[in-house]
Structure formats: C-alpha cells, structure tokens
Subunit: 417 residues, 2 copies
C-alpha cells in the first residue's frame, strides 16, 4: 500500500499560536480519495528541522505533502531548503512573476521586492498555479516518489489541492482497486444510540468489507461508510440505504453538506422564506444561513435583539411579557418568532433567547437555559433546552437544534400540503 | 537546549475525522513554561507506527509527551507498546483498580471487564492520577530523558497536564535561563510591509538574541517577539516598544486578545454603545461581538437587513436612495449606519453592504465590492473596499475592516474629548 506523509512547517505551530487545521483537512481529503496518511509531522521553520523531517519521510513514503513556508518573509524557507536537500538550483519563472505583479496591480498595492522570491522554482519542479494568492505550489520528484509543497494559508491551500493536486495524483499515483466512501450526517442522537441502531443491520455488509466509523462531535454524529474492494460502490450504496432507513429523519444529509446548507436548499426548492430573531446566539444562526450562496432568496431579515428594548422595537415583544416572564422564557421566544414572521412576511420565523454564560444564570434559569421558538403562521410554539457549554459551543449547539427543528418543520409542512 | 517532542496517536487523526487540538494546547502550555516543542508527530494506532515514532523521538528528545491510546478498547495500545519497547513488564495497580471501580459505581454504571486494563502499570512508571476519567497518565524514564503518556480526551488530558505534569517537570526537567514571548496583532498592513518597517529597527536587539516571527492570516499579521536569554524580558519589552512605536495604530492588540474583544473592551471602558446594520456579512459582525462575554453591555441591536424591504423597514433607508444608487452604495451604507444609530440610540452605528459572491456582480460593482458605514451622531461617513475572496473569507476580511475602523474611531473620539 502507498505510504503518504504530511509535513507541516511553522514555528507558530510549535509555539501553539495557531491550530493546525491542515492536518485534518488534508487527511480527510486524501482518505476520501483512497489514500491513507501514515504519519504527520510538524516542525519549526529551522533549516535542520525541516530538512531532517523531509529526509526521513523520503525514506519511508511515496507521497509527501509539505505545507507552509512559501511566503515572502525571511522565515519562509521551505522552497529553498527542499531544493537544497534534493540538490536542485532555483530559477526565476517569468510567468509566476507576471502573475504576482498582476495580483498586486489589481489590488492597487505596491509590490514589495521580497515578494519576488515566490517566483523562484527548483529545477524540474512542476508549478501548481495559485489562483488565490501569490505563492505557487510545487511538485518535485525524488527517488522514492513525489513531494508536493503547498502554501500555508487555507484559502490558498484548499483550492490548490482540489484543482491542482488531485489531478496530478490521479495521473501519477492512482489508488489501487475499488474505493467508495460516504459520510452521513446525523443530529439529535448520541453516538452509542446511533451504533446500537445500525450496527446489527450492517453486519452482513461488514463481512463483505464494509468499514463503519462513528465520529461524535458537539451537536452531531457522523456515520462513515467505507469499502476498499472491487465491489466498494455497491457495498457502500447498500449500507447508506440501510442506515437512512433505520435512522430516518435523524439523518439530515450527506457530507460535506452542512445543516445550514440543507435548510437553505429545502426553503429554496419550496420557494419559502425565513426571518430569524436571535438574542443569545447573537447573529450566529443568521451568519450560518448567509454563509450559503443563494441565502438572499430565502432570508428576509435577521434581528439580533440583544436588549429588551430592541425586542420590543424590532419584533413587537410586549413589555408586559418581558416583565412577567423575563427575556429568557417560552412566552418571549413565541412573541419573538411570531414578530419576526409578521413584520417581514416570511413563511417561517425562528427565534432564540437564552443565557449563554459565563455570567447571568439564576437558580431557576441556570446558564445554558435556552428557548427556541418556531412560527409558521398562524402556528407558533417554543421548546426549552439546556445547553451547558462554553459560550461559542453554546451558540453552535443551539443553532444545530434550531436549524434541525426548522428542517423537520419544512419537511412536515410540505408533506401535509 | 532541551528538546521536547509530542506524539499524538490515533487512526481517527490520520483519517481526518477529528481535529488535533492537543498539539496547539500542549505547545502553548509548554511554550508558556519556557519549553519549546521541536517536533510533533501523529501516527495511527498500529504497533509499528507507534513504536517507530517513539523510538525515533527517544534518540532526539529529552522530553516526550504521547497522547491517546490509553482507553479500554482493542485499538488502545499505547501503554502496552511503549512498555514493550522499553522492555518493562506490566503489573496491576490495586489503587487504580479501586479508583476505576469507584468511578463506575458513582455513575451507577456496570464496569466492563475491558476497562480493567487501565489499571496495568509498566514497572518503574510514575502514575499520574486521573480525576476526570478512568485511565491514569504514566511517566517513564528512558536513557535520554522522560516519556509521559496522557489520555486522549481533552477534559482528562488538560487538567492532568496542569495538575500532575507541570509539577513533575519543574522537579525533573527545570527550564534553563530566561524566556519571554509577546505576540502583537496588526491589521491593515501586508506581511512584507510589516517586516519592511520594523526589521531594521530591531536589528540590534536581534544581535542580543531576539527572534522575530511573522504570521500572515487573512485580514491580519501577527508579529511574534521572543527571546531565550537571561535578558529575555528586557529584550522582548524593548522590541515591543519599538514595534508599537513604528507600526503605531496598525497594532490593535496583544495576543490572545482578538479585534472583537478589543472593540468590546474599549466600548465598555467608555460606557459607550453600538448598533450594527449588516447586509452582505449576514450577522457575522454581530456574532463576533456577541462571542465576547460582556457584549450585552455594549451591543444594543444587530440588524441583518438582507432584503431591500428590511433595510427600509428596520433602518429607515429611503426607497428613493435604494432606487437611485442600488443597495450596494455609499449612500445606502450611510443611511444604514445612521438608521441603526438613531433607532436604537447607540453611540456608534456600523453598517456593511456589499456583494459577497459567488453571484451578483456587475461590471460597475464587481463581486467583492463593499461599503462600510460608520455613524457617530451627527457625523456619518462610508468607505468603499474591494474584497475578492470566497464567501466566508469575504465576511471575515470585511468584519476586520469594519471593526478596525470602529476601534480607531472610538480611540479618536476619546482623544478629542
């Protein structure tokens, strides 16, 4: 089997200043293509550390992906160090230089002299064009395989991998035999419940080579169905059908479609609209919806009514309701959802009011208390949840509950009509 | 210098199913104590991969921290494999067994037989008590130093590191000499411009041992100032003063304080309030502000007015202005900011209207066109930007520009008065 290794360079990684999201992203992408990473290494931007790591990987692996250190500053040395290790000289590629100059000219910024180093290419290297920045990626052959250097910024690395590296791998290092993988996204059930419900029913496919993986995250559980045989496609398709049949509406989609994208898709397909009224989630739900291209066709407005006065002014929540029940209450969640609907004319009104913490809890309403309201005129209801997490996780979990309820309601509304 | 390495075990890491947050957390903790990690490796749960990685680290490092693989299931093999590598037998520690039994009894759960493996201890190992789970950590000596095994779940690993590992290190591997590190956060300048402005002025401190690192992210550049000498504190303090003097208002803070937290802090200190009117950023700015605990004292409301009708209804933008200039225009940004201010009574009104893409651009207003408006009654102005990125990056960059402008305006407003 092909051995794949990843090397992430950057002193900022070793100091813990930034989170290494490249590892997960690249491992996930490579796995989905049938390549399995057998080692990942992170090293600081020092010559010896980078060269040692690359030299050791070359002895073991047939594919090495190195990230970072292709920028214009003095601590960006990956290109030079690897060229030196492989005994290659660097030459200036005029096409890259022109691309860099155009990149700066378009943004009306002066081109710093140091940036030109990014046009230097080791002899024999394949240039991987960068449509989202100045530093190109580079692919170089070594005696045991292929080494690929990618720029550190995720917005440059990710499209470069998808558009340049995948075709290169398909041509130069095709994966052996069959391979299929599907990840189903579920929400509303714990990991062990998901396993309990499906494991038995998938047993015979398991005997045929199906590999099942569960990945529990806050607010959702992924079920990964994978096979590496000539029959991979059929096995995974059958497993997917069984899983969806057993878990029913707990499956909200297929990776990489997120819950927010599912909601926007369902509303768009039905020509329906949404208004959101948020207190404790502070715009997080509106932000998730507007991350999806096409959201403007379904989202009429999002009202982040953090203060009581804003709840009255923008949503028509009654002062008496606030006084009688408090801002975090079923009654206020209901008036917020109804108000969002009525004032915008949207088909659905979704509201959230709660206590994110770390301060503000009381014995009756502890931190984590949250009411979600959902209006579809003339009906409006609210549910209570208790989400005891840190502030950002609280927002995420609450948004999953709110969007999943909305998703089910859209489906029900359509079934009924 | 002491060489520290981290080894993260887990097939789920190599498949990309989970994000390796241990690396950043441990690197950050160790850095703060003056230990610098020179390599981090992740390997799957296979005997050969784990033993190879540990053997190689033992040849280089004086401190090795291994995470994961101490649990009760068949893929948890770290304890056995490392004991085997070091030629140590395992024995059952009755105190750990009693702890495990008590742990299950307290939760009224049956103790699975497999869990008892966690009471096995390699000869000569120091047991690191686990107050948050069943698997203890283990510290073992090897010829070149100390190897520490920690359980994978963050809620167990983190307190164990703080409460058990730090005292052990202080006793067994005290850090040599001085250490100081500060990271300054800047926005509004490119990475190479930052370096161009400060590198020369820091040269003499560099000769005294200052290490400078630049980390460019979308919308900001970090400058890391670090020294590891007896004079570390003085060197880093002087470097910080020089950097702040040269880069002036481009420095918005010191790591780990983010721009959103700086804005909330500045407003809180001055008892001032904010209202936000967002179109293309769709609630992202309100979400950033409300991620900060204490935001409720400064944010009166966030209006995500995605549709023209919502702009008129919630912000009082005039239909004629929308008709004459279009929703993405200086005039509309100004009316949005002014409307947010007036309707809520906030001290500052911040507005954003633009074209996030990937659709909706025109020759006159290409994708990425954005107007940011800022009102402080009776004044209100707007600026035009061109942020050509994918949808989520567009939102982030725009939010940085908006919050940085607001930050500068808050400071100016205070200087003036």
């Amino acid at each position: 089997m092909l051995r794949v290794e990843i090397i992430n360079t950057g002193t900022e990684l070793m100091m813990g200043f930034i989170l290494n999201t490249h590892q997960q992203w690249l491992c996930r992408e490579l796995s989905a293509l049938g390549y399995v990473v057998s080692r990942q290494t992170a090293v600081p931007d020092t010559a010896r550390d980078i060269q040692d790591a690359v030299r050791e990987s070359m002895e073991r692996a047939q594919l090495i992906i190195v990230t970072g250190g292709l920028g214009p500053t003095s601590d960006d040395r990956t290109r030079d160090l690897i060229a030196e290790l492989l005994g290659k000289n660097l030459w200036e590629d005029k096409r890259i230089l022109a691309h860099i100059e155009a990149f700066f000219a378009k943004r009306k910024r002066r081109l710093p002299e140091s940036t030109k180093v990014q046009a230097m290419v080791p002899e024999g290297a394949t240039v991987l064009w960068n449509d989202h920045g100045t530093a190109p990626g580079l692919a170089m052959d070594y005696s045991g395989g292929i080494l690929i250097m990618l720029p550190g910024p995720p917005r440059e690395l990710r499209p470069m991998f998808s558009e340049r590296v995948i075709p290169l791998l398909a041509q130069r290092l095709p994966t052996p035999g069959g391979f299929a993988c599907v990840t189903l996204k579920t929400t509303g059930l714990g990991e062990s419940f998901v396993e309990e419900r499906i494991a038995k029913k998938l047993e015979s496919l398991r005997d045929q080579g199906l590999e099942i993986g569960y990945c529990a995250r806050v607010g959702e559980v992924d079920v990964r169905l994978l096979a590496r045989t000539a029959e991979a496609e059929r096995i995974v398709n059958e497993a997917e059908a069984i899983t969806c049949e057993v878990l029913k509406e707990f499956v909200y989609g297929r990776d990489p479609e997120q819950l927010d994208a599912v909601v926007v898709r369902l509303l768009t397909e039905r020509g329906m609209t949404l208004a959101i009224a948020e207190s404790c989630t502070g715009g997080f739900i509106a932000n998730r919806i507007t991350n999806i291209s096409g959201a403007s066709a379904v989202l009429l407005a999002g009202l982040v009514t953090y203060s009581n006065k804003a709840k009255e002014q923008f949503l028509g929540v009654k002062a008496e309701t606030l006084a009688a029940h408090g801002a975090v209450s079923e009654a206020v969640a209901i008036e917020m959802a109804a108000g969002a609907c009525e004032r915008t004319g949207a088909d659905f009104g979704l509201s959230v009011t709660g206590i994110a913490g770390p301060t503000g809890g009381t014995p009756e309403k502890p931190i984590g208390t949250v009411y979600i309201g959902l209006a579809r005129r003339p009906n409006v209801t609210a549910k209570k949840y208790l989400n005891q997490y840190d502030r950002e996780t609280f927002k995420y979990v609450t948004s999953q509950q709110a969007l999943d309820w909305l998703r089910r309601e859209i489906l029900l509304a359509t079934d009924r009509s």
